[in-house]
Symmetry: C2
Subunit: 463 residues, 2 copies
């Protein structure tokens, strides 16, 4: 196949996954000799709707992107066509990230304004990473959060139903399909239906049967018999193709006739709570999976209506986070070197003000529960445990990437440490993130300076 | 880089982008000698919320997927680990699609229940394609539709503002970033900021500057001067970092002092309609781009409030189709060979009934406008022009893939042929898709047959 036309990125084109303006700014900076050290902060201004927390995820892929980013022949050829200078392209041909990255470990609950990542490097290098970093960390955090909410609804009941990602077909492209499986696992899922995600990340894969299997036989009974003949005790039968209750009866009869203990049945339509009870009367000892329209709200409703389930298979709502389909990550310049010193910087744009300076995120605890964060300046001594960890230094990785199981376990522990009022799926209480005195002061001072500079500039005095 | 860990698909792993159940069903079918010819239909049961039409897109990538799909060593090694049989894996090693695909040409308005694709092939082959086909066609159709709505709001005013996709960073993964750019172009966008999409599909790329550029200088004026020094008349300046009106004044002064005609300015925050008027008074002759929270509703509102713009840069709302983030594509078995004949098949699942049989989609016109479709059986003679085109036969492509420009032009023409009441962005009138008499009869007959079979099966008579 030609990767180009299908549009998948390869090693050869990954570097082009960036907004043109990054390269245009880089070229201007390069040619104009404007390459101060800079710190960019990746964060969200607001959590998505109805979210009391988000779960940081995607750091591993973000690091791998940074570590492997290079401009090969194919990328450079395209940039030549786009009119970039030869001198700049020679510089790109030697591109290698040489800076530092601090980050929140994956699986950590994160709140508005707290950096998920901070990148400190020469401006040209740090700028280039924006598009891909937001894309990868934003999407995985979105899905880990959605998954965490579903797991939490189950967990708080003291239950432990299986959660399996069925969303690949409805994910936004193939990368989302695979990354959703990973992020959902981080957030507390048990498996995915996506085989490629199993291969890429070691997420357990799981699968049952589709309606097409049943329909491809003249009789439902025959379709079950054939499947059971093939898979024996491993068989999971989909019983709602024609009539769920009758499907359950046929499944029971086929199992009995063949002497097989079914691994399970799946219900995929109708009034799932009511039907699950009916099915439970027919085959009480058989594992029951529920799919179709499953999200945290549907799970809560299912239990409220006394549904009986051993597992759920969320699809569209998981992988698109339907009720809030974006974590609006931004990547903002917060400090820049001038006269040999890192100086804080910020925008004043209406509704889009950012806090200046490289940050510290401290989390406090009380009785084993999270009791508020302090967002401060890097050099400030704030109470609580620092959450940001240095992952790259001088372009080299300085930590081992944890196993996915470790991240998943960390996510579970940290979710449980968050008081339940912040975990409600509707209208959660906001978690306190206090702006430190130092950061507050720095923000106010900088605002004054910037306002007076802009006033001077626009009246012509500043030239 | 290792493609595995970053999780991008490559030629080697593309075949694994499928749900495990497809492979489990295939293995059972293979071992049990159950491989009749089958027809699957890819369609949506309902259009997304507030959509009067959808725009078919993604066929080119779907075809490329089918044509290039193969199981290489790495894919087979993983499936061996997952416990698949040697005999079945040998069969997969020889996999090559040998069937037929009929499809709606990209850029065509499509409605609920109308096939976007129909695949006819031996069951094992047709089944495998489900996950990736829905994924690719579903996402691109979702985004082409969203883009078409934005273009239509502008078009119906007799305007022609530029629409540039700024969404890559908020897209769900990298594949979505690139495919969104292509689909948006099909739907009527002019360009994308995503460089990789330019390289992969020839979508024009476009870019301005970010706030970080402005902030990286001590003074906004200096940042503009440096950029203008580099790019001259090609400079587009972002003017809202500190104060939009003052930014416009500084841009004007910098341009005048350097004798440059600015290519444009961009506004990215605040009351965009009001600020655009203020800016227009300061620099009436300079091109104005508007970004931040742009979608079809925001564009309509912007014009209603007398905003002045030459272009818009939608981001998150475009690439996630925020108000309706999924086209819920399904891939249903509609016919299967029995005793040498293709027999219609359908599900009866509550709320998920499908129409049986391979389909014909006929579109009628009146006064050059679309006047209703007829969804019929393939062999039926219905009024109107047949929309489904055979694209693959015996596994070989039998049509030339049109250029992206051709698809875009087709999308524009066909959108304009749809009466405006179906194009309203809120509460559009539903477009009539009549179910043909033949299809109606076939559906009713089959339902009766299936109901009696299931009743017989579950009472044990059918065994």
């Amino acid at each position: 196949m030609t990767d180009t036309t299908f549009g998948h990125l390869t090693e050869e084109t990954l570097a082009l996954f960036t907004d043109l303006y990054e390269l245009r700014m880089m070229q201007a900076a390069f040619n104009q000799g404007h390459n101060p050290n800079a710190t960019f902060s990746l964060f969200v201004r607001d959590l998505p709707k109805n979210r009391g927390y988000a779960v940081a995820a995607g750091l591993e892929q973000a690091i791998q992107y940074v570590e492997t980013l290079e401009f090969g022949e194919r990328a450079l050829a395209f940039l030549t066509e786009q009119g970039f200078d030869e001198g700049f392209l020679e510089h790109l041909a030697d591109f290698e990230f040489s800076g530092e990255i601090r980050a929140l470990p994956e699986g950590t609950p994160v709140f508005a304004n707290e950096p998920l990542l901070e990148v400190t490097a020469p401006l040209l290098e740090a700028q280039l990473l924006e598009t891909a970093l937001i894309n990868q960390v934003g999407y995985q955090s979105l899905i880990a959060t959605k998954a965490s909410r579903m797991r939490d609804v189950i967990d708080r009941r003291g239950d432990d139903q299986r959660l399996v990602d069925f969303g690949s077909r409805r994910a936004h492209g193939t990368d989302a399909g695979i990354k959703a499986a990973r992020a959902a696992y981080v957030g507390g899922f048990d498996a995915t239906s996506n085989v490629a995600a199993g291969e890429a990340f070691g997420v357990p894969v799981s699968g049952t049967m589709a309606h097409s299997w049943v329909q491809s036989f003249e009789r439902e009974r025959e379709s079950f018999e054939t499947f059971v003949d093939e898979y024996g005790d491993e068989s999971v039968l989909l019983i709602d193709t024609y009539d769920t209750v009758r499907g359950a009866e046929i499944a029971r009869d086929v199992a009995a006739a063949s002497g097989v203990d079914l691994a399970g049945v799946r219900l995929d339509s109708g009034d799932l709570a009511a039907l699950s009870r009916d099915v439970d009367e027919i085959i009480p000892d058989v594992d029951k999976s529920i799919s179709s329209g499953i999200d945290e709200y549907a799970i809560a409703d299912f239990f409220e209506r006394d549904g009986v389930a051993d597992g759920f298979g969320p699809g569209t709502a998981l992988v698109t986070s339907t009720d809030a389909p974006a974590v609006e990550g931004v990547y903002k310049l917060v400090a820049v070197e001038r006269d040999g010193e890192m100086r804080p910087t910020m925008k004043l744009s209406a509704g889009k003000v950012t806090y200046p300076g490289a940050k510290s995120v401290r989390r406090t605890e009380s009785d084993g529960r999270y009791a508020g964060d302090v967002l401060g300046l890097c050099e400030e001594d704030c109470p609580g445990t620092e959450l940001l960890v240095t992952v790259l230094e001088d372009g080299e990785r300085v930590v081992d990437l944890p196993a996915l199981e470790t991240i998943r376990e960390r996510a579970r522990e940290r979710r449980r440490k968050l008081p339940e009022r912040h975990r409600r799926i509707d209208d959660p209480d906001p978690y306190e993130v206090r702006i430190s005195d130092g950061l507050q002061r720095s923000t106010e001072d900088l605002r004054e300076t910037l306002e007076s500079r802009v006033a001077a500039d626009s009246s012509g005095d500043g030239a």
